[in-house]
């Protein structure tokens, strides 16, 4: 039976259940012990599982990730946390060159069952180095999975699947979603990795949106439905592996596509998807592809200005209008 719980609670449940299920898992990061994680994602876990299984680390991000790799290739299944997703840059070599490539470059002799939890996104004044959505940096990270849960059910189901997977996973919950609520099935709820979710079916426009922007995409879809525009909203649930089939099928059906995310447009998650559409579905397109994302600037510290950088529902509405009004053959 589904229950309505918060996104943060869903993350916590996933950690709780998987720590309970497999002794080889442990959870380490800054303030994940007694403090329970700065977003509450680990509340009570150290009390329940003890300091051996859930523990604080020094402020040493290369150790957090690299240590996770070392534990993963020697029989454990570490879950580690970067307090903010922006800190992927602080341990980029460990993520991009070690976690992702260790198996490949050592001829498949190791598995790297490591989950890196790294909360991302703007949250009202966290500034340029605590607000970024870095997923698109990992389009080229062969060997790594990259997930962006948008709902409580996915927060739980994707995290549980990630923990059970034998590959390194960069798991990016969105900070602004922490208090959102949603139905989450009871029991062992698993969401398969690399499968997009169609959040809303529609026939006029394909709207691919990542993470927190999904909520705005659905809002936009509702508003535009009133104008008779029927939007299909697809949540790719991440970057790698990417479910191009679902997106391409939808584009073939609708002929129009908007890609929406919080990261800046240049080099955002939408680029690669737009590129693949331009390669593989161009004959279906009835309008130019349209991307919605932050402008090409860092995230300002001020919440007042942050609003102008983070894409809003209105921006998505405008983009959809643009692709429905224009046509390839004008």
């Amino acid at each position: 039976m589904p229950r309505t719980i918060s996104y943060t609670e869903a993350l916590r449940e996933a950690l709780d259940e998987e720590l309970g299920r497999d002794e080889r898992t442990f959870f380490m990061g800054e303030d994940v012990g007694a403090f329970g994680g700065i977003f509450g994602e680990a509340a009570g876990l150290q009390q329940k599982y003890g300091k051996k299984r859930v523990f604080d680390t020094p402020i040493s991000e290369t150790f957090i990730i690299g240590g996770g790799v070392g534990a993963a290739i020697t029989g454990l299944r570490p879950i580690v946390e970067l307090q903010f997703a922006d800190f992927v840059s602080v341990a980029m070599d460990e993520i991009y060159n070690k976690a992702a490539k260790w198996r490949y470059m050592h001829g498949g002799l190791f598995r790297v069952p490591l989950v890196i939890i790294a909360p991302e996104g703007a949250m009202g004044g966290a500034g340029p180095e605590h607000s970024q959505c870095p997923e698109a940096l990992f389009w080229s990270a062969a060997g790594l999975y990259v997930l962006t849960p948008a709902t409580p059910a996915d927060a739980k189901g994707l995290l549980k699947s990630a923990i059970r997977d034998d590959n390194p996973v960069l798991f990016l919950p969105h900070k602004a979603l922490g208090n959102t609520t949603g139905e989450v099935p009871e029991g062992d709820h698993l969401v398969p990795l690399g499968q997009a979710a169609v959040r809303r079916q529609g026939s006029d426009v394909t709207l691919v949106a990542w993470s927190a922007v999904i909520l705005k995409a659905l809002e936009a879809a509702d508003r535009l439905a009133e104008e008779g525009i029927d939007i299909e909203v697809i949540d790719p649930r991440g970057i790698r592996p990417f479910d191009f089939d679902t997106v391409l099928e939808s584009v073939e059906k609708t002929g129009r596509v908007v890609l929406a995310h919080e990261a800046p447009v240049p080099g955002g998650p939408g680029s690669e998807v737009a590129a693949v559409i331009a390669e593989r579905a161009i004959t279906s397109l009835e309008a130019p592809v349209k991307r919605v994302g932050a402008p090409d600037v860092p995230v300002p510290q001020s919440a007042h200005l942050e609003r102008f950088v983070v894409p809003q529902t209105e921006d998505i509405v405008d983009a959809v209008r643009e692709v429905t009004e224009s046509a390839v053959t004008a």
């Binding site: 800054e30 303030d31 012990g33 007694a34 403090f35 700065i38 604080d56 680390t57 020094p58 402020i59 040493s60 991000e61 290369t62 922006d86 800190f87 840059s89 602080v90 009202g124 004044g125 966290a126 500034g127 340029p128 180095e129 605590h130 402008p295 090409d296 600037v297 860092p298 300002p300 510290q301 001020s302 919440a303 007042h304 200005l305 102008f308 950088v309």
Partner: protein
């Protein structure tokens, strides 16, 4: 400066840090400010003592623990308020630097890295720059006990020492990094124990004693100015408030916190010293506090008058 003048100057600067912060906390309560603030109350002794050892043309990279660094340095307080109010009075001209990215080049305030420890290599680079240009400027780099565990410290400290760069590494060891005790995160008893690894002097001082901090940092600054290289100073201190405003602060022992507040308040300690040495009366100190309060109030009002930036502000200063 006479001993008395120096101590009164320290007192005034510490009071200024405290009252500036009090006003800021009021703004936060009133919902005038978004973002996060990491209060510095309790660490004024370290921040003022260290900053007082600098010359106006020296460089400083501050930490996130309050704004005592900038207040003590004499950066216009209205600018600091402006950065939190995120209006055009702020040093970042409306970008809303919060505590993280305030800057004031004319006093060598070079800004801060939002990723902890990102300031270490930059501070070493500023030291390299001073040495290269043949000035005798020094760069003072503040950081917390938790931040000391970033690998960037190792790289910057080693390079600074090999090349005898004019840098003073100043660790504010307030014994906690958010909820993590320094004992659980750090292998040595003292952060200053690490100085040996870089062949530089290391010293642990009482961070609640502004004079002790001033003297230790002055020695390190002079050493750096003479071209003899960096030093590491660890000031033992404590934050009186939560890690950030809103922190439930359940991880610290209540008695420990109370003891520090009661017995180890750097401002009270200096007041006692001034009074018992009869260098100042309670009235003298009260006058200072009142004057500083007026200055803080004026700065706050000035800051409040400034307008918020427009949307276009986000596109400014991306490139030069």
């Amino acid at each position: 400066m006479s001993e008395r003048e120096r101590l009164l100057d320290f007192y005034e600067r510490m009071v200024c840090c405290m009252l500036w912060e009090q006003k800021l906390l009021r703004f936060i309560d009133e919902g005038k400010i978004s973002g996060f603030y990491h209060a510095g109350r309790g660490q004024e002794g370290t921040q003022v003592g260290a900053v007082a050892a600098l010359r106006p043309d020296d460089y400083m990279m501050y930490a996130h623990r309050g704004c005592g660094y900038m207040v003590a340095r004499g950066m216009p307080m209205s600018k600091l308020f402006g950065d939190f109010l995120a209006n055009t009075e702020g040093s970042t001209r409306g970008l809303g630097a919060g505590i993280v990215h305030i800057a004031w080049p004319e006093l060598g305030i070079l800004g801060q890295s939002g990723t902890l420890g990102g300031s270490f290599p930059i501070a070493a680079g500023a030291g390299l720059s001073a040495k290269y240009r043949g000035t005798d400027q020094v760069c003072l780099c503040f950081f917390g006990d938790g931040t000391a565990n970033r690998g960037t410290f190792h790289e910057a400290a080693n390079a600074a020492s090999v090349w005898k760069l004019p840098v003073v590494w100043l660790c504010e060891n307030n014994q906690w990094a958010v909820s993590v005790s320094v004992k659980e995160a750090t292998a040595t008893e003292h952060i200053a124990d690490r100085a040996v690894a870089y062949n530089m002097p290391g010293e642990t001082v009482d961070g609640q004693n502004v004079v002790a901090v001033y003297e230790a940092v002055s020695r390190a600054v002079e050493r750096a100015r003479r071209g003899e290289g960096p030093s590491l100073i660890e000031a033992m201190t404590y934050r009186f408030r939560g890690h950030y405003e809103g922190d439930p602060d359940t991880y610290r022992d209540k008695e420990e916190v109370e003891r520090w507040k009661k017995e180890r308040d750097p401002i009270l300690l200096l007041a006692k010293r001034l009074e018992s040495a009869r260098l100042a009366s309670e009235q003298d100190l009260e006058q200072i506090r009142a004057r500083v309060q007026r200055e803080v109030n004026e700065a706050a009002e000035e800051a409040l008058r400034a307008p918020m930036p427009q949307r276009e502000r986000i596109f400014e200063f991306v490139t030069a």
